[in-house]
Symmetry: C2
Subunit: 217 residues, 2 copies
Amino acid sequence: MGDEHKAPPAKPRRISQRGIATRERIVEAANRLMFVRGVNATTLDDVREASQTSKSQLYHHFDDKQELVRAVVKYRGALVLEREHGRLERLKSFSGLVRWRNALVQANSLQNGAYGCGLGSMAVELSDQDEQARSMLLETFAAWEKLISDGLHRMRQGGTLAEDADPDKLATGLMAALQGGYLLANAAHDVAPMEVALDMALEHIRSFLVEPGAATR
Amino acid sequence: MGDEHKAPPAKPRRISQRGIATRERIVEAANRLMFVRGVNATTLDDVREASQTSKSQLYHHFDDKQELVRAVVKYRGALVLEREHGRLERLKSFSGLVRWRNALVQANSLQNGAYGCGLGSMAVELSDQDEQARSMLLETFAAWEKLISDGLHRMRQGGTLAEDADPDKLATGLMAALQGGYLLANAAHDVAPMEVALDMALEHIRSFLVEPGAATR
DNA sequence: TGTTGTCTGGGCTATTTGGTCCTATAATCG
DNA sequence: CGATTATAGGACCAAATAGCCCAGACAACA
């Protein structure tokens, strides 16, 4: 794939441990703020204050706000993928899928459905505004879906899932249900719609189980 | 003092036809701009220019930007509900559901998945920012879902849908799939994920048909 | 038709916000 | 150690943006 972005003429800049730590602090603070307030509603002053840094540091580590936003997209994407990797890498049964569902629902219920999905919210806010951010988010979604579809593939190879099941489509459908669930839960400030959405998707996947009766629940 | 919203003490303001027209023009312009750029990225100057009005008119018809945003939420909600009412009021068969799906997919494909759902985008951007807007959006979603579940109820009463089908949950699941589909399609700038998501939800509903073979497609 | 209150044009203000700059301090390396 | 470069502090700037105001045109109604 074409690596469009990235600074072209590698600038061999010396970098200290302290500098790395500061940058990290900035990205983390921006991430937190943008999660609860949204990207556009978060100002650089907010970030500066929350990260206990100064304006010059923001601009030392990032060209402009857009770059900071992109760094947050990358950071958050990595976090989600790491978390999801841990949860999905060994997925190979329907009950594993149910556990995965439960973890997401529980996490979201802790905040009464508020804030939605960190990735989904950014996607909505940035997709028609920052092409590069959009493509990063798109890649992250693809990677996330792949973690799911890999699990479904394993289920199929293990004979749990029927041969005619399409893991890729099932994964996309499940992801859509998850994102739509997050969205509705956010609007309702209540996890319930998210549960219904995920359950529908799981029910659909269950219909592809070789021995439906064997499923937990 | 603490008068949250609405000015109940009926202010008997005279209102002219011209005033109404201007207000309409402002809301329409704001609606269009906010649809493509997002709410927070749309400035009052943008609205003023697009609506061919002046600053004083904006503030004559709306207390502040937040009020304008809420007017847009209301306006857009009414538009969507009107459209959906037309499409769903006579729904009483699975093939009708398929036609409904096709209409949404086709409309979205015209813009290559961009912009997403007018309601969903606003919900993401406003839910954690404007409580009143959130509750209006929540109501609109509820009304939209009701149009769907009413149709499903008719299908059930007509014997098309099995007795044990839960129209409300099916409608919520379908709405989540739709919203998630919009979101992923927006990130991908491609309708495909939306189609997959809707098809999953329809497949799930199909599994509740009394005579599965009778379904079109 | 005159009076009252609405509607409009557009200039103006205060504040916010992204972004710059200059100086001082801390690392890093020869 | 001394030179050099990264890092930090924070004042400063210019543009953008929400919001205000007043004078005058226009509509409604007596």
